[in-house]
């Protein structure tokens, strides 16, 4: 649930500020009052107010001066100027300096309610936009500025499908960034000002999943003490992202299929038909076509969700992105941990490039975070990574060094034995024999 919008009423007349506070509290806003500009700035710093209703004529700091200081301290805060008829000209001056609007005392109840409601909606949109921007900025090195042709193709597909309402299925191994791609698609769609609602279908039992998706009425089952809106309802006018769709039980697939066809639903235990309008994006790490062929996934539901498919490549197939990603995570964790680390030692980057990354980008982020915790110098060394220090440090024998080198080259070639043999300048049979000798197996 989102936090209530915070309103601050600033007026030197107590009956005005208190009556307005009471009026807006009845609408569910979180309302504070301040008797002066100085008092208002202290409250703003303490509580992080979203909307300020400011009287223009106050002793000491007047409304105009307060508005200027609010602009400096909290640029996203919305200022509404309250004025008596005589000071309308000053209110117009406030508008020129960035006030959202002004209203003349005494207020028509309808006018002031509508004005504050509009300001609250504007605040919600700003907050949503900021959250999306931060999310995308965070994701950008993984998705947008990636240098590999594979990821460039993914971004191209996202741009093509985002403005439509087509159902999209995102496939890829765990940790490849499926949710971030879904979010990017939402941010670039016409529904971007609507909600982006996420449900991980693999984490819930069938009954709980059904209730989470469709909602329930009070008394629908034991423990249903109140009405609950489901994720499908919450995604109205926005995007619904269902992760791990391959784990959804068959009965729930039938119910979801019906909603996709009819665009209506009924809550569990309810009779009311509710219209819903959302764009569906699903994701899975499973091979759904194989699941359908094996009879474990409904074909009619699969055809409905798989209108447009985007396959995310595993990190081992886009190793050219690893240096940029590693630098990105290094910078991010350096800020979070307040550490000054210059970069990666040459051996460390070689180790990152050689490792096969079964956990993909998520594993890379975790490995770098761990390395930064262990690092005591100004550069990350190979020994800081969880997949081990270079074997020469532990065992300097020729056999150990050869085994480690073969492992590294195989990993860099995604365990393509023919390619690794060429790199090592030996024939494939010799490489197979050495792999057998050193117990090296495909991950």
């Amino acid at each position: 649930m989102t936090a209530p919008v915070r309103i601050l009423v600033v007026d030197d007349e107590p009956h005005v500020r208190n009556s307005l506070a009471a009026w807006f509290r009845e609408d569910g806003y979180d309302v504070s009052v301040a008797e002066s500009g100085r008092d208002a700035l202290a409250t703003l710093a303490r509580e992080g107010t979203n909307i300020l209703l400011v009287d223009i004529k106050m002793p000491g700091m007047d409304g105009l001066e307060l508005q200027r200081k609010v602009r400096e301290l909290a640029p996203d805060a919305t200022v509404i100027i309250m004025t008596a008829y005589a000071s309308v000209e000053t209110a117009v001056q406030a508008l020129k300096e960035g006030a959202y609007d002004y209203i003349v005392k005494p207020f028509d109840p309808e006018a002031v309610s509508r004005l504050v409601r509009k300001a609250a909606e504007r605040y919600s949109l700003l907050a949503e936009n900021r959250a999306l921007r931060e999310r995308l900025a965070d994701a950008s090195p993984a998705l947008v500025t990636s240098g590999s042709p594979a990821m460039a193709r993914v971004i191209e597909l996202v741009d093509q499908v985002a403005p439509t309402d087509t159902n999209v299925l995102i496939t890829g191994e765990s940790g490849t960034g499926k949710e971030l791609v879904a979010h990017l698609m939402h941010a670039r769609s016409t529904r971007r000002f609507g909600p982006f609602v996420v449900e991980n279908c693999g984490a819930l039992a069938e009954g709980v999943l059904e209730s989470e998706l469709f909602g329930h009425e009070r008394g629908a089952f034991t423990g249903a003490v109140g009405r609950h809106r489901g994720k499908l309802e919450m995604a109205d006018e926005g995007t619904l992202f269902l992760d791990e769709i391959g784990d959804v039980p068959s009965r729930v697939q039938v119910d979801l299929l019906r909603v996709l066809q009819e665009r209506t639903l009924k809550r569990v235990g309810g009779n009311e038909t509710i219209r819903v309008d959302f764009r569906l994006v699903t994701a899975t790490h499973r091979d759904l076509e194989a699941e359908v062929a094996a009879g474990r996934f409904r074909d009619d539901f699969f055809f409905r969700i798989n209108v447009f498919q985007i396959a995310l490549p595993p990190l081992r197939e886009r190793t050219e992105d690893i240096p940029a990603l590693a630098e990105h995570f290094l910078a991010r964790f350096a800020t979070q941990m307040n550490r000054r680390i210059a970069g990666f030692a040459p051996g460390a980057m070689d180790a990152l490039l050689a490792y096969p990354w079964p956990g993909n980008v998520r594993e890379l982020a975790n490995a770098i975070e761990r390395a930064m915790v262990l690092c005591r110098g100004d550069r990350i060394e190979a020994s800081h990574f969880p997949f081990g220090a270079p074997p020469v440090a532990a065992d300097r024998s020729l056999v150990a060094v050869e085994a480690a080198h073969i492992r590294q080259v195989l990993a860099a070639c995604s365990f393509n034995v023919a390619q690794a043999a060429r790199e090592l300048d030996i024939d494939r049979v010799t490489l197979y024999n050495k792999m057998k000798k050193y117990g090296i197996e495909r991950p």
């Binding site: 005005v16 307005l20 009471a22 009026w23 609408d27 309250m82 005494p106 109840p109 009070r218």
Partner: protein, 172 residues
């Protein structure tokens, strides 16, 4: 939860009885009484209206298990607002409803029924605030904000299921 309807100034006895009889769950019943307080000093001569914030201070605090609601024919305002239909202390179980602006234009029997329904709806609204409810987004719930008399006609003098559940929990 019982309701004490208090007449502020002259109030038709049948009106208060009709409102009391029409109150929905969770209100079980109540009584009608009059409030002898004078509100001369709450009257604003320049606006020719009564200050609701001043007036509510004359509504006595209720006993446990009761809500006190005053009914008046005076035109109410709040210092920053041109008029209000009523006022409550949020969660304080006391409030006021004015019927001054709820009168329909005509005086026939049908409009009288509508008038009574409006007062009852606003009484249910202020009683809800008195028990801590804020405004509701459901358009026909009594707790939906109404800013003009015809807006009151769009509501029912009852709470929506979510508001009723919340009220019943507060009354326990």
């Amino acid at each position: 939860m019982n309701v004490r309807l208090l007449g502020l100034g002259e109030i038709p006895p049948a009106l208060a009885e009709a409102v009391l009889a029409a109150l929905p769950r969770p209100f079980a019943g109540g009584e009608v009484a009059s409030l002898p307080a004078s509100f001369e000093h709450c009257y604003d001569r320049t606006r020719a209206q009564v200050d609701a914030a001043c007036l509510i201070e004359h509504v006595p605090g209720p006993e446990p298990g009761w809500s006190n609601l005053a009914l008046t024919g005076a035109d109410l305002f709040m210092p920053a607002l041109t008029y209000v239909f009523g006022i409550s202390h949020l969660g304080g179980r006391r409030g006021i409803v004015s019927w001054f602006r709820l009168h329909p234009e005509a005086e026939d029997a049908a409009t009288q029924m509508r008038f009574l329904r409006r007062i009852t709806t606003e009484a249910v609204h202020e009683l809800g605030h008195g028990l801590g409810l804020v405004h509701c987004v459901v358009p026909d719930c009594a707790m939906h904000r109404s800013l003009w008399p015809e807006g009151v006609d769009l509501k029912r003098p009852e709470y929506c299921p979510a508001c009723l559940t919340s009220l019943e929990e507060r009354c326990r």
